[in-house]
Amino acid sequence: MSTSKQIAIVFRQPPYGSSFAREALDTAMAAAAFDQKVSLVFIGDGVWQLIANQQPQAIGQRSLEKQLATLPLYDVDRLYADAAALSQRGLHTGDLSLPVEVLDSDAIATLLKQQDVVLSF
């Protein structure tokens, strides 16, 4: 596929209560595998997906953190988190497993407007 679009995947759900996080990440990786310019945007409860030191084996689930860690292999390095979502949940970048750019709502809106495709999970 020769066309390369700017595709943003928006993550809005917490990691283990539903399969949205995993399926959204599968979509991001598929887009990257097809050479699209992928950005991952974590807002609302989606920021919980970024927490470091997840121990999901205790609840019989596979680690989303480990799957997120493979993103560099797909050349996916544009990760953004909503500043208000982090601070409302008492989180800061030191709590996260991956480097993300923290943006306020206006900056996130601007980023999404620049995309060709926005997929929201």
């Binding site: 679009k5 595709i7 979509t27 097809f34 699209q36 999970f121």
Partner: protein, 131 residues
């Protein structure tokens, strides 16, 4: 005139995703746009399950999408990975995993996320119907 691709993330009746997507499809087609592909992902794969009865409200969900696909040449794709773990299988997969008969409704194809990425690339507008 724009070409649309739709992503459906909800199961029939459990959320309004499928219903919204169907009504949106009708509207965009009536407005003269083209609907290229609908990709059923996450719980949306249940939209392709032939083993569901209509409610008093009218047509069974897979049947109304079949009609749409036939009348307007729309691709209906059910994500294979999401479907297999949720019990929506075509005849080949049913045979391969010795599950008895398949239940994927006619007019729907079982395929991978690559079909969705292709749709995102080819369509002018992409809309997600989810939670």
């Amino acid at each position: 005139m724009s070409t649309f691709a739709l992503l459906v993330l909800g199961a029939p009746h459990s959320t309004s995703a499928e219903q919204s997507a169907w009504h949106f499809s009708q509207a965009l087609l009536a407005a003269g746009h083209r609907l290229f592909r609908v990709f059923f992902f996450h719980d949306g794969v249940q939209c392709g399950n032939a083993l569901q009865l209509p409610t008093a409200a009218g047509t069974a969900v897979p049947i109304r999408w079949q009609q749409l696909a036939r009348d307007h040449h729309v691709d209906l794709v059910v994500c294979v990975a999401s479907a297999l773990k949720r019990g929506v299988v075509n005849a080949e997969e049913a045979e391969r995993h010795q599950l008895g008969a398949g239940n994927l409704a006619e007019g729907f194809d079982l395929s991978g996320l690559g079909q969705w990425i292709e749709a995102c690339i080819l369509a002018d507008r992409v809309v997600t119907f989810g939670p």
